[in-house]
Amino acid sequence: MSLLLRDQLLAAMSRPEAGTRLIVAPLLDAEQVGGGTIDLRLGTEFIESRRWTEAGIDPLELSGEDVSRSARSEEGVFVSLGAEFVLHPGQFVLGATLEFVRLPSDISGQVVGRSSWGRLGLIVATAVVVQPGFAGVLTLELVNTGNVPIHLYPGLRVAQLQLWKADAPTTLPISDRVKYAVPLGPESVHLAWDSSEVGRIKTIGGQLEGGNGP
């Protein structure tokens, strides 16, 4: 794996065949491609979580019904270019990149925040890994850890994408999702998808509590 620097990023974005091309669209400014990263802008859609009446979120106790109840406690907010979204101290929301990103099968990536925002107390992304073959907008976890409200505007550069080229394309097939069901906005919790592993952990926990441990 090698980190892609500016010339390699530009080369990957210029591959003649669209299927093997690194796509970041729309790229509003060519200068978004930096020395070793591509700046990403804040998108127009946010998911806010309302306070809910459950005791807490416990992945081991979470059923599909709970997940849907959790989703119902969320509220989608759309903010046009030029309008603002105010993130209050301690508030957590899901956002997304403005750019639609498609990685070829031999490139993986990671989204990190930009330091200038970090110094204001804004956490933008918690090491979001982008798998080879991913297509869609990237979900950002936005948290204001500072003491004053931060005014966020769609279109601002809030994150950056580091990309690595693998020696060979991934052998894992890209998921058989429904056509056009790519992520178009921030994606909410997917904890229920790990239900088989949750079941295994619960089983082990039960065995240990019952005195059947190793």
Binding site: A25, E75, F78, V79, R102, A135
Partner: protein, 418 residues
């Protein structure tokens, strides 16, 4: 009488103040032109009611009944304010709709309404797709205030599926009704051969059939509907053919004469307009199956032979060229066959990879280019059959994808122009 007048005036003043308090005048955003006008109406009612209250006790008791009538009229106006505030309260500056959808409505206003509009998007479970010129609907409220500019226009979107991109061409037709009210009716009257049309209508009046007045009303309705079709067809090109073939639906044959022309006649007219605009080659080379299906159905019109139907068709036929010409001059930024033809291969390459295409040859794609390209590619991918047409128009993932694509393309254009 003095007591009753004071009581009624006090009611009007209090109700005005209550309605003003219930609005959010400090906020900006779509729909606030209506809020501003409703507040103006309330303030005017309050001033007029105060003026009447100031005349009590009456020097001349004989004017009492007329002042009482005036107060009841003012209270009726407040009921109207209440009605509009209640209907649109949740729609002013709303932020729960995808940005791409809002951009699409903005583009319809920009491209079809010469005097502009302030669009209020209202999700309604009942009034699918229709638009409402709010000012016209409540014109008694602004009798003493200058006409609002831009006019607030209510866009009804289906509450259960507001993102359905099929609504774009259908909404283009509906926005046409507002364009009609904004002056296209007068322009059509000035250019169409209404004398010849009237002669056909007169010949259609027969014993036992519709009266001359009813036929004239039907004719007026038909020509408005066809102008709206023409505007939508010029602006959105093949998308209007696809959407109307599904939405009308085109399979409907003969129906009783109503306020809309027959579905197959409308599709036939759409095909004629698209042909005049140079779309036929594009349709025949990209979606020949769907094109032929529409053409076959449009050509298979069941004529009843009734004089009313014959006369109405003939009258509309006379003014059809004027309708088409007016639509071509009124719709700005229409999708053009040449630009679509030369870019659809590149579009399809990205579309197949599920990547939104936002620009062609260094210029942002318009919403109408995007819809036409996406629907054409998807219909072709699914086999270019009527079934493919239906599946394409109702694919919710594709619709959401197109709405997102519209958003990104518009943002690119705005960014470039800023």
């Amino acid at each position: 009488m003095d007591t009753e007048l004071r009581f009624l005036a006090g009611l009007a003043i209090d109700e005005s103040a209550r309605l003003i308090r219930a609005t959010h005048r400090e906020r900006n955003g779509r729909g606030y032109s209506l809020v501003s006008l409703l507040i103006q109406a309330c303030e005017r009612v309050s001033i007029e009611a105060s003026s009447i209250a100031g005349q009590v006790p009456l020097a001349d008791p004989a004017v009492g009944p007329s002042l009482e009538r005036e107060l009841y009229r003012l209270l009726d106006e407040l009921k109207l304010v209440h009605l509009f505030l209640g209907m649109y309260a949740g729609d002013f500056g709303r932020n729960d709709l995808p940005v791409g959808l809002v951009h699409m409505v903005d583009a319809l206003v920009r491209d079809l309404l010469p005097r502009g509009a302030d669009p209020i998007i209202h999700l309604s479970p009942e009034n699918m797709y229709s638009t409402l010129g709010v000012v016209e609907a409540a014109k008694q409220l602004w009798r003493l205030t200058p006409p609002p500019d831009p006019h607030p226009v209510g866009f009804n979107l289906p509450a259960l599926n507001p993102e359905n991109a099929m609504l774009a061409p259908i909404l283009a037709h509906e926005v046409g009704h507002t364009a009609w009210r904004q002056g296209l009716d007068a322009q059509l009257n000035a250019t169409a051969d209404l004398t010849a049309a009237s002669a056909h209508l007169r010949s259609a009046v027969v014993p036992g059939g519709p009266s001359a007045q009813h036929l004239a009303e039907l004719f007026d309705s038909w020509r408005q509907e066809l102008l709206c079709d023409a505007l939508a067809a010029v602006l959105t090109g093949p998308s209007f053919l696809f959407a109307s073939a599904v939405f009308l639906p085109v399979t409907t044959g003969g129906t009783p004469i109503g306020r809309h022309p027959f579905p197959r006649d409308r599709v036939a007219y759409t095909l004629r307009i698209l042909g005049e605009l140079g779309w036929t080659d594009f349709l025949q080379s990209n979606v020949p199956g769907v094109y032929q299906w529409c053409a076959d159905l449009a050509g298979d019109v069941v004529l009843t032979g009734h004089p009313a139907e014959t006369g109405l068709r003939a009258a509309i036929g006379v003014i059809e060229p004027a309708i088409t010409a007016l639509a071509r001059s009124a719709a700005t930024s229409p999708v053009l066959p040449g630009r679509l033809e030369s870019n659809i291969a590149e579009f399809n390459e990205l579309f197949y990879l599920e990547v939104p295409c936002t620009q062609w040859a260094d210029s942002a794609i318009t919403p109408w280019e995007l819809l036409a390209a996406a629907w054409t590619c998807e219909i072709r991918r699914l086999g270019d059959t009527p079934e493919a047409l239906r599946l394409t128009c109702y694919d919710e993932h594709l619709n959401a994808f197109m709405i997102k694509s519209v958003e990104l393309a518009v943002i690119l254009r705005l960014w470039t122009e800023a």
